[in-house]
């Protein structure tokens, strides 16, 4: 009981510090920013753990209701974005090959374009571009939908009906975004690789299709496939958790939804870059 009171008092103190005007002085300002970062990370971590717990414990609950919702979310975060992903993939292929072919030809090393494609597109740009696209198109919409629902009291209505809001609102979106980013990344990479070769062909780069694809195959190792799957699914989970956390996890007024949306974009980008950085460490070790 005493420890509970102490925790409540501590939380109240932290809250009053966070609500106070920004302090003057770099050190205090940095301290405030660090505290805010820690509190956000703590909230997000707790929300992620709760969500994963619900995903496991309610795995097959109300399957006839949840499955159509999951399919709808996969369609929304995957299939509907396919045309724009194909466009971005083609553009990425042209741009990267356009830059690297010109550079590599100077050194007479144009046979390395396959290696460049794998390193740049498969490992880095492909997953990140797909993730940012899903964040922009679906993540932001998620914060607005959930934030508005929260502000209208629909979340309490779900609880009153015995429906777990995390299960009903978050799990379909998490699966949708994870599967969506994973699938879109594959299409984006394939389009970029093909359009890259088309560009090389137009530029008269002396490389046969068979050689190009052999280079690609040679540059790829089996870990690339596993890490690509992990990374894209991770991006999906991160973006959905951050978006749903900003929309759901705190009482919102309608006028606060726009702030929550911009916050979600910022936090998602930071979280994705941090996750990406963790994967770079893995690639360096490999």
């Amino acid at each position: 009981m005493e420890s509970q009171e102490a925790t409540t008092k501590l939380l109240r103190n932290v809250q009053s510090i966070m609500e106070a005007p920004l302090p003057r002085g770099y050190l205090k300002y940095t301290g405030r920013m660090l505290l805010r970062f820690v509190l956000t990370a703590q909230g997000l971590g707790a929300f992620a753990l709760i969500t994963l717990g619900v995903a496991v414990t309610k795995f097959n609950v109300a399957a006839n209701v949840m499955r159509p919702m999951i399919r709808a979310e996969v369609r929304r975060a995957g299939l509907r974005l396919l045309p724009v992903v194909l466009f971005i993939g083609s553009a990425l292929g042209f741009v990267i090959l356009g830059q690297t072919v010109a550079l590599l030809q100077k050194f007479g090393a144009s046979e390395y374009i396959g290696k460049v494609m794998v390193t740049v597109v498969v490992r880095e740009l492909g997953p990140l571009a797909a993730a940012l696209l899903v964040l922009g198109r679906v993540g932001t919409a998620t914060v607005i939908e959930l934030g508005t629902s929260r502000a209208h009291g629909e979340v309490e209505a779900l609880e009153a009906l015995g429906i777990d809001p995390i299960h009903f609102l978050v799990i379909p979106r998490m699966i949708g975004m994870a599967v969506g980013i994973f699938s879109l990344t594959i299409y984006l990479i394939l389009t970029a690789v093909l359009s890259g070769y088309v560009f090389a062909f137009i530029q008269d780069v002396p490389i046969l299709p068979a050689d190009y694809f052999r280079q690609l195959a040679g540059a790829l190792i089996w870990e690339d496939f596993a890490l690509l799957a992990l990374k894209t699914l991770g991006f999906g989970v991160v973006i959905s958790i951050v978006s749903c956390y900003q929309g759901l996890a705190q009482p919102l007024r309608l006028e606060e939804v726009s702030f929550a949306t911009t916050r979600a974009v910022l936090h998602s980008v930071v979280a994705c870059v941090l996750l990406d950085a963790m994967f770079i460490v893995v690639y360096l070790v490999m």
């Binding site: 109300a62 209505a157 009906l161 015995g162 009482p251």
Partner: protein, 261 residues
């Protein structure tokens, strides 16, 4: 006498010296000292002016918000020590109709709103739940607007959808937060007569009398139907007993809630 009768009946919801949590955003005061037993067959009417904590009290009684202090029992079991699955089953026996348009899911149609709890808890597809959904819509006079979304229908009808949604699961206790708020007299009469039919044992509920608790800022429409009365006065719970307790001379706090318009 009243207490003796009540103690013989099964107590479905009990708040024992509870302090009701106030919402953090609005600076509202918590309601303290709530000793409330809802027994099978009761029809409670709880009055109080605006911002007296009526909605928070119902949210606590429905198990949505844990009390700040005191003990809370659902179906005779303390919710603090009950297993999660048992708590869910106990909570499903208590329906809650929110005030001010019923807090419907705005992206779903009226029929989908009503069907959602049915299909979720029984793992039914939309088609499987259609017959039961149609029966609830028919009962509440909503069949014509089944395919409309909530934003296309008027507030009194949205409130009715909230009622239909709560009734779908056939609860044992129905808590209604200011159900007559903002309704014209025709709608208000429908609500009172419909609730009276439910309390008397409606065929839809297998003839079992439904236990009711409503909040209000005006006791007058409920005087003839309510069986137990209470008032929230200066953020304190005060039970008034039966209809004879609604005496503005004996209890000055009731003057405003019983005043002729």
């Amino acid at each position: 006498m009243n207490t003796t009768i009540q103690s013989r009946r099964e107590v479905l919801v009990e708040l024992d010296d509870v302090t009701v949590k106030a919402p953090p955003l609005d600076g509202a005061m918590p309601v303290v000292g709530v000793n409330w037993k809802i027994a099978r067959g009761d029809w409670w009417v709880i009055g109080g002016p605006a911002w007296s904590g009526k909605s928070d009290l119902l949210a606590t009684a429905a198990g949505l918000v844990p009390p700040d202090d005191g003990a809370f029992f659902l179906g005779g079991r303390n919710v603090q020590i009950i297993e999660e699955d048992d708590l869910l089953q106990a909570r499903l026996k208590v329906g809650l109709v929110f005030e001010n348009g019923g807090r419907l899911f705005h992206h779903l149609s009226v029929a989908e709103n009503v069907a959602l709890p049915l299909s979720y808890h029984r793992n039914l597809t939309v088609a499987d739940a259609a017959v039961e959904t149609a029966a609830v819509l028919e009962l509440t006079g909503l069949t014509r607007m089944a395919e409309s979304v909530p934003s296309r229908i008027g507030r009194p009808w949205r409130q009715r959808v909230g009622l239909a949604r709560a009734l779908g699961l056939k609860p044992e206790v129905l808590l209604l937060d200011n159900p007559l708020g903002g309704l014209d007299w025709r709608q208000a009469v429908w609500w009172i007569e419909f609730l009276a039919a439910l309390a008397a044992g409606h065929p839809f509920l297998g003839g079992q009398p439904l236990t009711l608790a409503v909040t209000t800022d005006d006791f007058r429409p409920w005087k003839s139907q309510g069986r137990q009365f209470a008032v929230l006065k200066e953020n304190r719970w005060q039970a008034l007993g039966g209809r004879e307790g609604l005496d503005p001379v004996r209890e000055p706090a009731l003057r405003e809630l019983l005043a002729a318009g």
